[in-house]
C-alpha cells in the first residue's frame, strides 16, 4: 500500500501518540523509511513534543505553593468566620424567633378563638377568676346570667381561658370592667365579692340564666 506525503503529515501527530490503526502505522513507518522529507518532519515534530514536555520548559515560580496555600488559608478562615457569623446570626434569629413564639403563645398571640365572631379582650386582668363552660365560647364573671351550659363549668383564670380560646362575654365582662374601672376594685376581690358568686361547682339559678333568650 502506497501513502502520499500529505496523508502522512495529516496522521503524523496521531502516529506519535499511537492513535493510528496498526495497519496504517505499518504503512506510515514504511513511508518514513523511504521519504527523507517526511522522516525530517517526523523527527522535528517528535523533538517538539519532547522539548515542550520537559518539566524545565515551564517552571512554577519559587514559593508558588506556599503563597497559594496562604491565600487559600486566608480565604478559608474568612469563609469559616463568615460561616460562623451566619451560624451565630441564624442561632440568634432562631432564639429570637423562639422567644417570640414563646411570647406569642403566652402573652402576645392568643390562640384562635372558639367563636369566629368573638373578639379577644384587652382589659381583662389575666389573673381574674372566670367561669367557662366546656362547650361554651366565652368566659364570664361568676354572676353572669348568660352562661348556657351550667352542668360543666370550670373556674379558671382569664389568662387560661384566653389560652383555651374563650372570649370575654360581651355582657358580663363589659359590665364588670366598666364597674371596676370606675371603682378600681381588686378583680379577685370583685369576683369573690360578687353578689351571686359561683365558686367551684356552684351553679347559677334558673332565674339568672335566661335560656329562652340565648339557648
Amino acid at each position: 500500500m502506497v501513502i502520499k506525503c500529505e496523508d502522512v503529515w495529516r496522521e503524523i501527530s496521531n502516529y506519535l501518540d499511537g492513535e493510528v490503526h496498526p495497519e496504517l502505522q505499518l504503512v506510515i513507518e514504511e513511508h518514513f523509511g523511504e521519504c527523507e522529507r517526511c522522516a525530517a518532519v517526523l523527527a522535528g515534530t517528535r523533538n517538539v513534543v519532547q522539548l515542550y514536555g520537559d518539566q524545565r520548559m515551564m517552571e512554577v515560580p519559587a514559593g508558588f505553593s506556599r503563597r497559594l496555600r496562604q491565600r487559600l488559608e486566608g480565604d478559608m478562615s474568612r469563609s469559616r468566620r463568615t460561616f460562623l457569623g451566619w451560624a451565630v446570626a441564624a442561632a440568634a434569629s432562631l432564639f429570637v424567633a423562639g422567644g417570640i413564639e414563646v411570647a406569642r403563645s403566652s402573652v402576645f398571640n392568643r390562640p384562635s378563638l372558639r367563636s369566629e365572631h368573638a373578639r379577644p379582650s384587652k382589659r381583662v386582668p389575666p389573673d381574674m377568676i372566670v367561669i367557662v363552660a366546656e362547650d361554651g365560647k366565652t368566659f364570664h364573671v361568676a354572676s353572669c346570667p348568660f352562661i348556657h351550659d351550667k352542668t360543666r363549668l370550670r373556674t379558671i383564670t382569664a389568662h387560661q381561658a384566653e389560652q383555651e380560646g374563650y372570649a370575654p362575654c360581651v355582657r358580663c365582662m363589659k359590665k364588670y370592667l366598666n364597674a371596676t374601672a370606675s371603682s378600681g376594685p381588686n378583680p379577685r376581690k370583685a369576683e369573690l365579692a360578687d353578689e351571686n358568686p359561683i365558686r367551684g361547682e356552684g351553679k347559677p339559678t334558673e332565674a339568672q340564666t335566661p335560656q329562652e333568650k340565648f339557648g
Binding site: 500529505e6 503529515w9 495529516r10 503524523i12 501527530s13 496521531n14 506519535l16 501518540d17 492513535e19 527523507e36 522529507r37 522522516a39 525530517a40 518532519v41 523527527a43 522535528g44 515534530t45 517528535r46 523533538n47 517538539v48 513534543v49 519532547q50 522539548l51 515542550y52 514536555g53 520537559d54 518539566q55 524545565r56 520548559m57 515551564m58 512554577v60 515560580p61 508558588f64 505553593s65 503563597r67 497559594l68 496555600r69 491565600r71 487559600l72 480565604d75 478559608m76 469563609s79 469559616r80
Partner: protein, 218 residues
C-alpha cells in the same frame, strides 16, 4: 516527564479524590490542599500560557482554586476533578485576558478552520535537540516565543496535551470541543512549532548556540 494518569483511567485515584471531597464538604477544609496538590503545576502552566505573565498566572490559579473550593459541593462525582479544575482555571484566565487585552488583535491563524490541511514549510533534517539545551534560559525563551505566536486555540490544546500530558478526552472536555478537534489542533500546533523552530527557517538554534559534539542539531 512522566505522563500523569487521570482518575478515570485510575479508579483508585478517583475514589481517593472523592473521599477527600467528601471530607472537605464535611468541613475538613485542610483536605483541599491534598486534593489540589497534584494539579497545581498543570493549572499554573495553563494559566501562564494564556496570560503570559507569571504574576497574573499565579493570581489566576489562586482565584480559580478559591472558586473551586467554594463550589466544591457542586462538583459531580461522575466528573473528573482535574478536568473541572482546568475548566475553571482556563475560563478565569480567558476572562482575565479578555479584560486586559480588549481591542487587541489575536494571531491571524485563529480564524483558520481546523479542517485546513497544514503543510510543513521546512523539510530539513532536524536531528534531535538534546533536552540539556533546556538548561539554557535563551533556549527556553525561544521555545516560549514560538509557542506564544500560536493562535490561542492551538496553544491551549498543545499546552494541555504536550506540556501537561492531559489525555485527549480530558482536553476535549476541558475545552468544550470534540476529540477530533483536539487531534486536529494538536497536529497543527506541533507542525507549526516545528516550522517555527526549524533551522532552515531561521529557528532559534541558528543563533550560534553550541550543542553537544560541537554540532548544530539539524
Amino acid at each position: 516527564m512522566a505522563a500523569s494518569v487521570g482518575p478515570l483511567e485510575n479508579p483508585a485515584q478517583h475514589d481517593y479524590e472523592q473521599r477527600l471531597i467528601e471530607r472537605i464538604r464535611d468541613g475538613e477544609h485542610e483536605a483541599f490542599y491534598e486534593l489540589i496538590r497534584p494539579y497545581e503545576r498543570r493549572l499554573y502552566t495553563a494559566a501562564f500560557l494564556i496570560l503570559r505573565n507569571e504574576a497574573d498566572a499565579e493570581d489566576c490559579v489562586q482565584e480559580a482554586l478559591l472558586k473551586a473550593f467554594k463550589n466544591i459541593w457542586q462538583f459531580r462525582a461522575e466528573a473528573k476533578f482535574s478536568t473541572w479544575l482546568i475548566q475553571i482555571t482556563l475560563n478565569d484566565a480567558r476572562m482575565k485576558r479578555r479584560k486586559e487585552r480588549a481591542g487587541l488583535m489575536e494571531p491571524i491563524d485563529k480564524g483558520k478552520s481546523d479542517e485546513d490541511t497544514y503543510t510543513p514549510r521546512d523539510f530539513a533534517d532536524w536531528r534531535e535537540i538534546p533536552s540539556e539545551a533546556l538548561e539554557r534560559q535563551e533556549i527556553r525563551e525561544k521555545l516560549a516565543e514560538a509557542l506564544d505566536s500560536l493562535g490561542e486555540i492551538y496553544r491551549e490544546v498543545f499546552v494541555l496535551r504536550d506540556m501537561e500530558q492531559v489525555s485527549i478526552e480530558e482536553t476535549a472536555t476541558a475545552l468544550g470541543i470534540s476529540t477530533a478537534s483536539v487531534k486536529t489542533r494538536l497536529l497543527r500546533a506541533r507542525l507549526m512549532l516545528r516550522d517555527l523552530l526549524a533551522p532552515g527557517l531561521g529557528g532559534p538554534w541558528s543563533g550560534g548556540i553550541q550543542f553537544a559534539k560541537g554540532a548544530k542539531p539539524w
